[in-house]
């Protein structure tokens, strides 16, 4: 019986839509995260001077500090963007797929 349901889920185009949408969203955000993190690390490895540049004349705060805190804030934001979209839009679609599979 549960195999039937699995087969029905697989046959439902909405299932493939869900998998495609959610996975490509997850992969896009992963790539953004990897660029942000390794970009920052490589910047430190190759261009320390620029990161040490002052934000403005007479200031001590360097470019690297807001940028680094920015990577932390960015991490928090992308994670929560994913969670929000997955828990609303994707989960609604998911519930629909399960409902349809159980109904027939």
């Amino acid at each position: 019986m549960s195999e039937d349901i699995v087969a029905r889920i697989e046959a439902n185009p909405k299932y493939h839509e869900l998998v495609h949408k959610r996975n490509s969203f997850g992969i896009t955000l992963s790539i953004l995260m990897i660029i942000a993190y390794y970009g920052y690390i490589l910047l430190i490895a190759f261009n320390k001077e620029w990161l040490g540049t002052k934000l403005g004349a007479g200031m001590v705060t360097s470019v690297g500090i807001p940028l680094g805190v920015g990577v932390i804030v960015f991490t928090i934001i992308v994670t929560n963007i994913y969670v929000r979209r997955a828990n609303t839009e994707f989960d609604d679609l998911n519930a629909e797929i399960l409902r349809e599979a159980n109904k027939k």
Binding site: S2, E3, I5, V6, I9, E10, Y15, L18, V19, R22, G26, I27, L29, S30, M33, Y37, Y38, Y40, I41, L42, I44, A45, F46, K48, E49, L51, G52, M59, V60, T61, S62, G64, I65, G68, V69, V71, I72, V73, T75, I76, V78, T79, N80, Y82, V83, R84, A86, N87, D91, N94, I97, L98, A101
Partner: protein, 574 residues
């Protein structure tokens, strides 16, 4: 990377074991016992009484194996998020990172970021799939469509090895830290940690462990927030003013505003980054937390909250480190060790007395700052928080190790899935006692050893053995048992061997001459993790056995379950 660079990494990554590079006597192993701090002890006793009360309540609810492993799946997403944060924000990250900021400024930030970036990876790739496929341990997920005995056995070994290295670092750190904070002997400190951790896990299982972690996370977040606010308040919430003052008083002056010695060669930088990023997604005690929530939705919520709290906490440690630079120099006599020459304190060219490093070592920056902003009572509170932090982390580790033995090895491999809940629960409790004794034993055995590399090694093994198996078995249809186990074994062995051959063990632990280490980078992850993935791919591709065909044919059903949650283990865990 130079020796001092590696020592810096050791400080951030390991527990309190970096050599005297940052400040004289930064190695807590060399510090003498401090005077007994009664306020700190009283605060800690209150924490212990509360958590033991919770354990008693949890014990009444812990009747089945499912209760023991996953608190019956009844933890909410928000609670689990806090518990994950409590599991992850170790004393190393609190004291180690703020100490690193205190010593070097900017470089501490690089570590904070590294420790955080694993969380989005878990969120995007693992959290909901873990919840949908698993029941009690990550081996449930990895072995979902595979031959149980080899996959489970390997996953259990992967779990126990990671737990062992992580645990040793925590126990040694606990002993050294408590010696300094509470003025207790090392051996008593290690035994107190062992006994309390055993009580929580043995009687209260996952419910008690979760609440210990939640309470600790709240205490740590409140304490750290208060310190950061107190620092910022002094500078009218203007970070520029704080940095300006720090640059003025710090011995390295403007150098603390830009990246220093931490990252030299790009290969090491990326390799360390990979270990942190993907290792987080292979830590068994963290993965296990995803089975405590009722659904994939809650699993996502947990990781969203966990990332938020952990990220916020790392921003706080950065402010705390700078606060310590500014505030501790205002009263050096209280916080620094005088630099002695011929029995009297040395006097500099400017006629001012000369000070050596911080009292108690470089990792004490946050602790001293708590005294500077909140007096002795707040110092006691933060010291108690640091102790509670270690307890929460070791409890999670023990529970994870006990589950690997009872659920993966005993119930599945040894009893072929025919063990009843009562006997499985009994085995997990016996294992907990054993692990507690072993942890105390190892803590005592490694007292004088350099354990800085161990947390990093745990991360490297997690990212090179556990993570590739999980990732490939869940996301790649052609993956087979043989491929997964072969890749995992290669990842595990190469992590350990390359770590031994690197300077952090070859030179720092085995005392071979400087520069003689065969492996030149700070972390093997870039090689060991790649090797694991390649071996999984090649062996799976070459595997055309009946078993392999069966495993591939099971993939579509596994995928439906991992993506939609259809058939997922229910909230009650049965």
């Amino acid at each position: 990377m130079t020796k001092s660079t590696r020592s810096l990494i050791g400080l951030g990554l390991g527990l309190f074991a970096a050599g005297g590079v940052l400040a004289a006597g930064a190695d807590l192993g060399n510090t003498t016992k401090q005077a007994t701090n009664w306020v700190a002890i009283a605060m800690f006793v209150v924490f212990v009484l509360i958590t033991l009360g919770i354990t008693r309540w949890a014990a009444m609810k812990t009747k089945t194996a499912a209760d023991f492993y996953t608190a019956g799946g009844g933890i909410t997403g928000f609670q689990n998020g806090l518990a994950i944060a409590g599991d992850y924000m170790s004393a190393a990250s609190f004291l180690g990172i703020s100490g690193l900021v205190f010593a070097n400024g900017f470089d501490g930030l690089i570590f904070s970021i590294g420790w955080l970036v694993g969380w989005p990876v878990i969120t995007f790739l693992m959290a909901e799939r873990l919840r949908n496929l698993g029941k009690f341990t990550f081996a449930d997920v990895a072995s979902y469509r595979f031959a149980q005995t080899p996959t489970r056995t390997f996953a259990a070994i992967g779990t126990l090895v990671v737990v062992a290295f992580y645990m040793i670092a925590q126990m040694v750190g606990a002993g050294q830290l408590i010696k300094v904070l509470f003025g207790l002997e090392y051996i008593y400190a290690v035994m107190i940690v062992g006994v309390l951790m055993m009580c929580y896990v043995l009687f209260g299982g996952m419910t008690a462990t979760t609440w210990v972690q939640i309470i600790k996370a709240i205490m740590l977040l409140c304490g750290a927030s208060f310190m950061a606010l107190a620092v910022l308040w002094q500078f009218n919430f203007n970070p520029e003013a704080l940095f300006a003052k720090a640059v003025e008083v710090h011995s390295k002056h403007d150098a603390i505003m830009s990246p220093g010695v931490l990252i030299k060669d790009p290969v090491s930088a990326i390799s360390v980054g990979m270990a942190l990023m993907f290792g987080t997604a292979g830590l068994p005690h963290i993965l296990m937390r995803f089975f405590t929530v009722p659904s994939a939705k809650d699993a996502r919520k947990s990781v969203g909250w966990a990332t938020t709290w952990i990220g916020y906490f790392y921003i706080l440690t950065f402010i705390i480190g700078f606060g310590a630079i500014v505030m501790l120099t205002q009263d050096p006599a209280a916080y620094y060790v005088p630099k002695m020459v011929d029995g009297v304190q040395a006097v500099g060219a400017d006629g001012k007395p000369v000070w050596d490093g911080l009292r108690g070592g470089g990792n004490m920056a946050a602790i001293h700052l708590s005294n500077a902003v909140g007096g002795n009572v707040f110092l006691g509170f933060i010291s108690a928080v640091a102790f509670a932090t270690i307890l929460a982390v070791v409890s999670g580790l023990t529970l994870s190790g006990a589950s690997a033995v009872s659920h993966d090895l005993y119930a599945t491999v040894f009893k072929h899935g025919n063990a009843d809940s009562a006997s499985e629960l009994r085995v997990s409790k016996i294992t907990t006692i054993f692990l507690g004794i072993i942890a105390v034993g190892l803590g005592i055995a490694f007292e004088k050893e350099n354990v800085a590399y161990m947390v990093m090694l745990a991360f490297v093994i997690a990212c090179s053995a556990n993570f590739p198996i999980l990732f490939m078995s869940v996301l790649w249809k052609d993956c087979t048992t043989k491929g997964a186990v072969a890749g995992g074994v290669v990842g595990l062995i190469s992590s350990v061997v390359l770590t031994i051959l690197s300077a952090s063990v070859w030179e720092a632990v085995m005392h071979n001459p400087k520069g003689s280490a065969w492996f030149p980078y700070s972390s093997p992850a870039i090689f060991s993790m790649t090797a694991a993935f390649v071996v999984i791919y090649v062996v799976s591709k070459l595997d055309n056995s009946k078993q392999a065909q069966l495993e591939r044919s099971l993939y579509p059903a596994q995928k439906v379950r991992s993506e939609t949650g259809f058939g997922a283990s229910s909230a009650s865990g049965h």
